[in-house]
């Protein structure tokens, strides 16, 4: 089923689909960064992928990657049991990584994008409340990037970076 969707995608968005890699466990399409929103809207409204299961960030030496996993929870029988379908977006600019948000298309992307921003420093343009959710604002570095030195911190070391509530 999902393989047919891949072919459909390729026909409908010939310039948006960068690559359909062979030999992946789940059907996968690599989408151009600029076209992710229209592809997402097409998949949700026309095909019925109404559920974004999870998003992930990946740090490769040459680019960042954001992975979307889609499923269909359709009420119509012909549209249910679609998926999983994986979308990948390469974010080439490692110094200033950003891509359009899909949090208004699938609400479950809201916190996933916050988490990817927190851990990788990838900004999502148009996200209504993009902030760090695990670490605090001002924490030095992006922990899941490969160039982040994973060392331990003392309390005193991190003290200047912590936000101070007015009542503290």
């Amino acid at each position: 089923m999902s393989e047919e969707v891949l072919q459909l995608l390729k026909e409908k968005f010939p310039e948006a689909v960068v690559e359909i890699p062979e030999g992946t466990k789940d059907p996968t399409a690599v989408i151009r960064r600029e076209n992710i929103r229209e592809v997402a809207l097409f998949l949700r409204d026309e095909i019925g992928f109404n559920y974004l299961s999870f998003m992930a960030g990946v740090d490769y030496p040459e680019h960042f990657e954001v992975v979307y996993y889609l499923y269909s929870m359709g009420r119509e029988p012909q549209r249910s049991n679609l998926g999983p379908l994986a979308l990948k977006v390469y974010v080439e600019d490692k110094a200033n990584p950003s891509l359009p948000t899909v949090s208004d298309i699938w609400p479950s992307a809201f916190q996933q994008e916050q988490e990817i921003y927190d851990m990788f420093g990838i900004t999502f343009e148009g996200h209504p409340d993009l902030r760090r959710i695990f670490m605090w604002e001002g924490f030095p570095g992006w922990p899941l990037r490969k160039d982040f030195e994973n060392r331990t911190f003392t309390f005193q070391e991190l003290e200047p970076t912590r936000p101070k509530p007015p009542y503290w």
Binding site: M135, F148, T152, T154, F155
Partner: protein, 170 residues
């Protein structure tokens, strides 16, 4: 020759002689009130220690208070992350003197297996710890043993030398 103290016969079997320290410490150590405060899986063992099978009430520490203002024992049960550390410190400062701290489990002692950017490497970095309980997680018996050790420590303190009754700040 001093006048002999006349003790009425009905009081002869009812008078105990002791020191203030002994009486005072007996009262304090027999009713330590821990703070309801669990951070990770060690808290489950702490809960088990307070439930009927291990029954921390046998040692007088069963009243887990939900407010730091009413507690005098902080059991740091679990991993202290850097995000939680200021709150741990704040709760400690909110407890009235005299106050004691048990660091329960490897994470609270030294950060445990979490040699990472997110975890404080031992709660003794920010608050003074009286008893360390090793284990991952420690069994309830180990926590009870730590409580008994803490009681022995309290027994050794003297009302004349403890810092929290001095007029000047300790």
């Amino acid at each position: 020759m001093a006048e002999e103290l006349v003790v009425p016969p009905e009081l002869r079997r009812n008078i105990l002689i002791t020191t203030v320290d002994k009486l005072y410490n007996w009262a304090r150590r027999s009713s330590l009130w821990p703070l309801t405060f669990g951070l990770a899986c060690c808290a489950i063992e702490m809960i088990a220690a307070s439930a009927s099978r291990y029954d921390i009430a046998r040692f007088g520490a069963e009243v887990f208070r939900a407010s730091p203002r009413q507690a005098d024992l902080m059991i740091v049960a679990g991993t202290v992350t850097h995000k939680m550390a200021p709150q741990v410190l704040r709760l400690y400062h909110q407890m009235p003197e005299p106050k004691y701290v048990i660091a329960m489990g490897s994470c609270a002692i030294s950060g445990g297996i979490f040699n990472s950017y997110a975890v404080l490497q031992g709660v003794d970095e920010i608050i003074p710890v009286d008893v360390y309980v090793p284990g991952c997680p420690p069994r309830p018996e180990a926590l009870l043993d730590a409580l008994i050790k803490l009681q022995k420590k309290i027994d050794r303190q003297s009302i004349l030398s403890v810092p929290w009754y001095r007029r000047e700040k300790a």
